[in-house]
Symmetry: C2
Subunit: 228 residues, 2 copies
């Protein structure tokens, strides 16, 4: 389903170059549940942004369902993103001066075929799944950090994405809430959604089926999670 | 040093009221190292914002070194904040279009008595302590999530605060880097800085001397960390 071949991402900084990703090679199949780990600055978010069609590589190939995505125009990338991807950003990126409900409804608005009533129903359901039904009408700045993170998760799943990309989805959640979110991700994964999640917490990585470890822009380890 | 008496914080939301903090009572002495824990939405950041003079309570008293801070004007709060507090925000709040070094120098700029050379030297040293000396000239949007978090930590400690308030300071850091940041906090604490840190990770709370647990805006537990 996904093939990355010699994928590279560089940033030119005056007379030095930051090699954020260097010759990344991997295959991801439909229904995978992958935990991406590695030190701060090792390239995890850069990989997620390329997989989620939010950024393009400097070199190499990103093959998705038989098409070379790194060749796509901005418009084709945006269309693919809206149709197939759900993204939980490391910094949440909620719209300010917008309620939790409006933030979650946003991905559905690209879909001209659904009614306003159905849109609202789906968004409220997604908020229910993350325990935030009663915060639906709070503005994003009236929510705690963990509540903002959960709104970002609801927004990522409301449009039934094929691929869910979650960058540190439990970074601001206590253990009990983290377990609930992981149970939700496992349920989505059993229903066929491919889940790729960055986490620095080994307890959270345990919920995945496969663990990929980054160092200095390269994959140094890619193995099955024991017992899964 | 700090006494909170019947501290309350409410938000009026149309016909309902959110009780973010309800009758919080506690004493904090100079040199304390406190881990604040509790579920998402339980009032931890609200407490931190009031302690850090970024917000005022709806009721009750905040006594700091013999003065009732909840009576202060905005100007007096700002002066107290700049002189005594270092704050690591849950969302980092770095200035965009500003380098890591400039972000860290910012708290020092209020101090008219220090030279530009000394200001730069102190800021570079703080970046060194969080392992980011070589990222000093990156802009904040050119840093990874964990790098941004560490710049926020450097900025909070550069002005030799009396009280360091850190809201989820390791939320985006891997284990090795988290251990380094905790060693830094312990070193600062041994040098006399009072450290109050929100964390949802029990392994991180272990570095503190005292653990305070919140639920629904109240302190339900306040005890010494075993073995410390
Ligand atoms: N400006 C606001 N208006 C209305 N409600 C608010 C506002 N700010 C915070 N709240 C509510 O107050 C409660 C406490 O928020 P707070 O940010 O202190 O929680 P927290 O313990 O830090 O949570 P987290 O672990 O998720 O960061 C939450 O239920 C939140 O929805
Ligand atoms: N726009 C940019 N310009 C220059 N360098 C960048 C830019 N964006 C990221 N980098 C650098 O690329 C490297 C990888 O960044 P990335 O965000 O992928 O790391 P990460 O593994 O997600 O880290 P973290 O765990 O801290 O979130 C970092 O060293 C970072 O400083
Ligand atoms: Mg990252
Ligand atoms: Mg908080």
């Amino acid at each position: 389903m996904i093939f990355l071949t010699d994928l590279c991402k560089n940033y030119a900084m005056g007379d030095t170059t930051v090699h954020a990703l260097q010759n990344v090679n991997c295959a991801i199949v439909k229904g995978d549940f992958i935990a991406v780990m590695g030190a701060s600055g090792s390239g995890k978010s850069t990989l997620m942004n390329i997989l989620g069609c939010l950024d393009i590589p400097s070199g190499g190939t990103y093959m998705l369902d038989g098409e070379e995505v790194q060749r796509f125009s901005q418009n084709r990338l945006a269309a693919l993103r809206n149709r197939k991807m759900g993204f939980v950003f490391q910094a949440f990126n909620l719209l300010p001066r917008t309620t939790a409900l409006e933030n979650v409804e946003l991905p559905l608005m690209y879909n001209k075929s659904i009614s306003a009533g159905y849109l609202r129903k789906k968004a409220l359901e997604a908020l229910e799944w993350v325990g935030l039904r009663e915060r639906a009408f709070h503005f994003s700045n009236q929510l705690s950090g963990g509540q903002q993170q959960r709104v970002a998760i609801a927004r990522a799943i409301v449009n039934d994405p094929v691929i869910l990309l979650a960058d540190e989805p439990t970074g601001n959640l206590d253990s009990a809430m983290s377990v609930e979110i992981m149970a939700l991700f496992q349920r989505l994964n059993r229903n066929g959604i491919t889940v790729i999640m960055v986490t620095h917490e080994p307890d959270i990585a345990q919920y995945a089926m496969r663990r990929m470890t980054f160092r200095d822009g390269r994959i140094i380890n890619d193995e099955k999670v024991l017992g899964r």
